[in-house]
């Protein structure tokens, strides 16, 4: 048994220097070295009741995998992770750990929690770099399943079912698989090569990935059944951007975060020789306070903006983004204008953004969600000097699939209704999960929903045959 490390602090994550990284798109966090990982793993107390595991949406056996790292059995640790997650390299990077596993770690009571996410990332990266075994294609069981959308939920369903022997086809609307992992989350937080590797592995075990296929247009769900699929999984995400409906939102220089990030990530506008145009603004306001807003702000900075503001109507405490991303953004020089709300975007005679009128806010009584409701301070209007505005105030599910599929019901927010956590929708044989069901949420929840759906699809098809 290795000696326990009783340091109160997490082993710090090596990162690129803020003044260097805010000018490039390379990954910010560089990952633990082998020694750092083993050392950090030895801070875990291997608690019997596993409070950390109960706070992980997919119930990873955290003490078990960490113990293997402490004992320098990295492949063993990977096996433990693999039982519960198919995207450890992704979740280890982007999970809001402080609210989940690490939030409940007993080492966090007096000191810092064990770096669970960082260890998960280390194990996944180590495995990817060292594993030489090619994935094996399982023998087919002769049953076909179609998956709509190649985001984390769809990729997980496809992988799990393929491993059980199903013949799975993923239909993806864009020219590249990965969902938000490729078009939304920037390279500096999640290198695209990692996502690509996951997709290559799926292909290697027999999953057929068909890109450029917008389901609801080129094929309907009914046609997918006619083609011999016995079940269909809808993992189409929540990609429809919301705007504020304030004057000036159609001016040139106003982007939805989705458009801005898609141009940068999917269309590679950050590269010098890219054919995709993007505005290189001097002063940018990003409206919103979640992960999406942080990603947009930090990307704008990297494109060369001198000043980038986060304009959020509540306070610093209420920012919904991951803590680490907020800290990274601050280090990179993003200016937080919290407790401010936009009223109007101002334009010049060419229809180009030249400012944004805002009003100061203060926090009043708590609302239904328990958060204190922001209220405008009368007479506090001011104009923020900006030449670009990026709206990152949320997204909702795209109506295309529900409007072309009879029997598929949605709630008043446009989310598909599922009967239970297994993802069965209101239509027989159709399952759904991820953001399409929950509205914009997290990678790990989407992946977890995919795992549950794969299990119930398997049971459903077996019960029929």
């Amino acid at each position: 048994m290795a000696e326990r490390n009783m340091s109160m602090e997490k082993c710090p994550m090596p990162v690129q220097d803020p003044d260097v990284r805010n000018k490039n798109f390379d990954e910010v966090a560089l990952g633990y070295t082998y020694e750092m990982a083993v050392n950090e793993a030895r801070r875990c107390l291997n608690c019997k009741n596993k409070p950390c595991t109960s706070a992980c949406p997919v119930q990873i056996d955290i003490p078990a995998f960490i113990e293997r790292v402490a004992n320098e059995d990295i492949e063993g640790a990977y096996e433990v992770l693999s039982k519960q997650t198919s995207l450890p390299a992704v979740c280890g990077r982007v999970c809001p750990q402080e609210n989940q596993c690490e939030g409940k770690c007993v080492r966090g009571i007096k000191g810092e929690a064990v770096g669970i996410g960082r260890l998960e990332r280390f194990v996944a990266d180590y495995h990817r770099e060292h594993c030489t075994e090619a994935p094996v294609k399982p023998e087919s069981n002769g049953h076909k399943v179609a998956v709509i959308g190649a985001g984390p939920s769809g990729l997980t369903v496809a992988g799990d079912l393929a491993k059980m022997g199903y013949e799975v086809t993923i239909y993806e609307a864009l020219h590249l698989a990965g969902g938000v992992l490729v078009y939304g989350i920037p390279e500096f937080r999640l290198p695209k090569s990692i996502v690509q590797k996951e997709i290559d592995n799926l292909k290697a075990i027999g999953v057929d990935v068909q890109t450029n296929m917008v389901i609801g247009r080129i094929l309907t769900i009914d046609e997918l059944f006619e083609m011999g699929n016995e079940a269909v999984f809808v993992g189409s995400g929540a990609g429809l951007p919301r705007f504020m409906n304030i004057p000036g939102e159609s001016l040139k220089g106003v982007y939805s975060a989705n458009e801005f990030l898609t141009r940068i990530n999917l269309m590679k506008a950050y590269k010098e020789d890219s054919k995709t145009p993007i505005q290189h603004a001097k002063k940018v306001a990003v409206v919103g306070g979640g992960n999406v807003a942080m990603d947009a702000a930090r990307s704008a900075k990297r494109l060369g903006a001198e000043e980038v503001y986060i304009v959020y109507r509540r306070g610093m405490e209420e920012l919904p983004a991951r803590k680490e991303e907020v800290e990274h953004a601050e280090e990179e020089g993003i200016i937080f204008k919290t407790l401010n709300n936009p009223l109007e975007i101002l334009g010049d005679e060419d229809g180009m953004v030249c400012g944004m009128k805002c009003i100061e806010m203060e926090l009043g009584e708590p609302d239904e969600s328990g958060r204190r409701r922001p209220v405008a301070k009368e007479g506090s209007e001011f104009v923020l000097d900006v030449d670009s505005v990026i709206m990152a105030i949320g997204t909702s599910p795209n109506p295309l699939i529900r409007s072309t599929t009879p029997g598929l019901e949605t709630n008043n927010r446009g989310c598909l209704i599922t009967k239970d956590e297994n993802g069965q929708t209101t239509r027989e044989g159709v399952y759904a999960g991820g953001d399409a069901v929950t509205g914009a949420a997290t990678v790990i929840l989407a992946m977890g929903a995919g795992k549950a759906a794969a299990k119930s699809i398997d049971e459903y098809i077996k019960s029929k045959n």
Partner: protein, 280 residues
């Protein structure tokens, strides 16, 4: 891969390609479009489906070479393939119940106006087609329009072919001659569509226009294609591209269309140099 079965030049800057895309051909309806990427790292660019053959499994596109992406497309030869080709996107043009229609096409917009003209004609509606070009050299699809319409008017800005004048002059003349249209469908440059709408507004004739804002995904994900229609924000790729022309804010759409002008000018120069290099 999406193979180019046939390629043909229609005028010095407009070409036609017939592409192998059986699933799209099966579903395509007039008014819908595709988004292509010529090569692995190209831009995503929308083009209208200007014809389709369900049996042969092919889709026809007609494009004007205006910038980087269309130049790159034009470098591909018959037998080669496009990297990406996604569709059919957008809502098909509404044609149900129409008995008498004037279809107006301006420039390369005629290519977009042709499939709906053909469909209306097949349905048995009385179709008057008015097409306008800057000059004789730019005329495309003349025979096709003639065969698909009950009345055909050719206009050129300089009078080098057909009648001299604008499509709005021809439309107004037909209306004044007593033609009572259920609807006018206008497709072409924004400025042309704007003036057609101002004309038809006077006579209170319902007018449908096909909007062509800058797009990326074409699935409703980016909002880049948004327009203001009747005071509401609409996404052209999923709510359109057809809209009630009397409600569209054309001035805003014209502004938004120039968003990347400088970038495109540079890209175009770079491509030109590349092409020159390749030909030298």
């Amino acid at each position: 891969m999406y193979k180019i079965v046939k390629k043909e030049s229609l005028n010095p800057t407009v070409s036609k390609m017939v592409i192998e895309a059986p699933l799209i051909a099966k579903k395509a309806e007039p008014g819908q479009f595709i988004i292509f990427r010529a090569k692995e790292d190209s831009e995503r660019v929308p083009l209208t489906i200007s014809d389709f053959d369900r049996e042969a499994g092919t889709v026809t596109i007609i494009y004007q070479i205006v910038g980087g992406a269309t130049m790159e497309l034009d470098t591909l030869k018959e037998g080669e393939s496009l990297h990406d080709f996604v569709g059919p996107l957008g809502v098909p043009t509404h044609t149900e119940g129409l008995k008498k229609v004037a279809v107006i096409g301006g420039g390369v917009g005629s290519a977009i106006a042709y499939p709906v003209t053909k469909k209306l004609h097949k349905m048995g509606a009385e179709v008057h087609a008015i097409v306008g070009f800057r000059n004789k050299d730019l005329v495309i699809l003349e025979d096709e329009f003639k065969n698909a319409s009950d009345k055909f008017v050719m206009m050129t800005d300089d009078g080098s072919y057909g009648e001299k004048g604008l499509v709005t002059d021809a439309l107004e003349k037909l209306i004044n001659e007593g033609n009572d249209y259920d609807e006018v469908i206008a497709i072409g440059p924004l400025i042309m569509m704007k003036f057609v709408c101002l004309t038809t507004k006077k006579y209170d004739i319902k007018t449908v226009v096909s909007m062509n804002p800058i797009m990326i995904d074409g699935t409703g994900m980016c909002g880049g294609c948004r327009l203001t229609v009747g005071g509401e924000t609409k996404f052209a790729c999923v709510d359109g591209p057809d809209f009630d022309g009397h409600l569209v804010d054309f001035d805003e759409a014209m502004h938004r269309g120039t968003m990347y002008k400088d970038f495109e000018t540079k890209a175009r120069e770079a491509s030109c140099n590349l092409l020159k290099g390749a030909n030298a």
